[in-house]
Amino acid sequence: MAKVTMTVNGRQVSGHCDDRTLLVQFIRENLGLTGTHVGCDTSQCGACVIHMDGKSVKSCSILAAQAAGSTITTIEGLAADGELHPVQAAFKANHGLQCGFCTPGMVMTAVDMIRRHQGQLDEATVRAELEGNICRCTGYHNIVKAILAAAAEMSGARVAAE
């Protein structure tokens, strides 16, 4: 049992866990943040994507202990003051989700993707970037649409702000 401390969604949290505890288990079981999902055992599906120190990370591929001291954002921490993040809003407007299970990972991946590309995305790039996130419901059509719409909106807002 190790004591692990990290900042999650803006709050410092601690918990005791086995050394072998994965970050995703720590988030789900210790912190009760069940929006982060486990869809496979081989870090392929991306349902567990969170942000660690600003970058998207599959939380099934890292130990909780390795994340000690880091700053984590989970899907629960993305919307500010009850307002959906532009990526969340775009997924809703474009029907980019059905059963919702892959959705948290998709959204967290999309936020990081848009950030890295500074909102300059095209369909081929979005599809290539989604290589690590599997959805079985949507055929990706509306997920791609939602990410492009969110990227356009966010980069438009960024340009306007500059």
Partner: protein, 781 residues
Amino acid sequence: MGVEGIGARVARKEDKRFLTGKGRYTDDMSVPGMKYAVFVRSPHAHAKILKVDASAAKDMPGVIDVLDGKQILADGIGNLICGWMIHSKDGSPMKMGAWRPLAHETVRYVGDAVAIVVADSVAEARDAAEAVVVDYQELPVVIDASKALEAGQPQLHPEAPNNLIFDWQIGDESETDKAIATAAHVTEVTIHNNRLSPNPMEPRAALGIYDAGDDHYTCYTTSQNPHVARLVMSAFYNVAPENKLRVIAPDVGGGFGSKIYIYPEEIVCLWASKRTGVPVKWTSDRTEAFLTDAHGRDHVSTVKMAFDANNRIIGLKVDTIANLGAYMSLFSSAVPTYLYATLLSGQYDIPAIHANVRTVYTNTAPVDAYRGAGRPEATYLLERTMETAARELGVSPAELRRVNFIRSFPHQTPVIMNYDAGDYEASLNAAMQAADWNGFAARKAEADRRGMKRGIGMSCYIEACGIAPSAAVGSLGAGVGLWESAEVRVNAVGTIEVLTGSHSHGQGHETTFAQLVADRFGVPIDSVNIVHGDTDKVQMGMGTYGSRSGAVGMSAVVKALDKVEAKAKKIAAHLMEADESDIVIENGELKVAGTDKAVPWFQMALAAYTAHNLPAGMEPGLKEGAFYDPANFTFPAGCYICEVEVDPDTGRTKIVQFVAADDFGNIINPMIVEGQVHGGIAQGIGQALLEGVHYDPSGQLLTASYMDYAMPRADDLPSFQVSTSNTPCPNNPLGIKGCGEAGAIGSPPALINAITDAIGNNALTMPATPQKVWAAAHAAK
């Protein structure tokens, strides 16, 4: 239609919770004292269990108990069953072998559950599961269905000699043989329909909670039909009587058929909760899902299609062997029979059809319905055969289909189904136009100049949805009725709850069912809540599969709304001293037509509950229920066109365009319908291009992770061009046909027809991997 009514493109009410991490799936559930289960599973595809020794495991840290097959047998928990009786053509009933929730004598596939370990944590349970020593005596294995029928092969169940479950037929064999004998041309093909793993992204899970104080069980589980789960667990598995068993299917992360069935794990978790005195939660990992979720498809068929001199089909003869795996899953017998062979007429006027189907036990995971269930197999068989015939006859694939289309309705096929409405030419024309079929030659020439092989293929599908008229399916062997129930509760302040026996696991019922109410009463959808998935809240229901929630589930809601509307009008008429026949409901008000008199909806509702001033003899309250039993199946149909480019150097197929033109009848929410089509097409493309379950000859599953089983990813797929036409279904009040499975049904043959067109070789099986396509392309040279 109003901004939120029928036909409106309303964004989903349920989205916010999924987008913010507030969805509540079974594995998210936590109750005080809860412990975790891991199953000990057979590593052998076929073996005798000589001994289960859990003594070391029980001493390991955190372990509460280890329970095995002898204990569950001693406690009287019953066998898993198949709920649809099929009789062989000799009149004998299907040969159902025993499926124990925990095997105690014989294991028959890799993954067969042998024992359950309950511990303080998943990790401790897993450690202990590895310490359970099971002494197996290995037996010979057979995984191929055709081979399993041969003499001298390993026998899975003593009840089923030669592993044959049933040998069934439909149609008129002598008329079909006559047609073939007199035909101007007979096209003969062998069709393989590859075995698939459904792969909803949420793995199956179950939380069993036994309350000793009330002798009552609660089961949270990943089910498409919690009421059926309760019925089966109560009536057949002897877990608990229905009044002592509550089944809750909360948010469910996709199903695609695989979550219809009642599996061993939920039964064992409930039983183990009583045995251990603690709530027991089990969550499948992905490898377990590949091993134990019911697989789909796995047919091999030979086909003879007979044509007269005018290219009209005069007969179709099909011989199919269907692999049902090691045990008969809940609806496994219906899939290769009444959900398959009854659709072999396709969109075509075929006077004589005969199909023979043999189903077979093998040492593989059970096979049952997967998105489309039987209808993709029928469509793939027919549409590959039509394409082959067009090539043999030297006519265009579109013309061959046109010549044979059914053009008047109702149409009685020779294989039971009575098509009620359709316009197949409209879908074909729409698809060809959207795909710019006539411009293909120029695109092909351009691709040739780049050294790429371009091909185009089509598929005209029909399916039967709205499952199903209870008396009809009862006469065909179904153990249940396939109606649906609804209850509409108007609260005293006018807000509304709709209780439905349908279950949403991605389909958006919380929005579309609310749209029905908004349409009827002019109230905002935010004032309407849809309640589903809990046997304590909704009395009874048959669940969601077979694209039945719209055609059947919503029809039940419509019937209940009719009753609510009638009573609401009576109350309003009384309050306004008007005749109830003059009352109209618009924009949240009950008005006297032609006057300015109106009562707001909420005021009428309040009057129903204060009961201070109701018509004489009227009961207080406003709550109505209905059961709806469909009069017929519904028949969605359409045309899909796929255009591909194959790289002759690598065999890689790129889909350059995919067009779907569907006739779903009336549509409640086009945005959701399009989403269903997109997802279906992706699964169909997955089947045709990527996916395939593979066992090695010893029965080890080689495709047991996402590293080995090729799921469609975003860059495997194009964006889709989808459109709909509409011949309303005449057999339900909303004119709905259903849209959930069409994409998975129509797309595989369109894709394979396109690839075989591109490479000039018709001999290609699914999945058309680059290796197979390269070999076929080079064999064609």
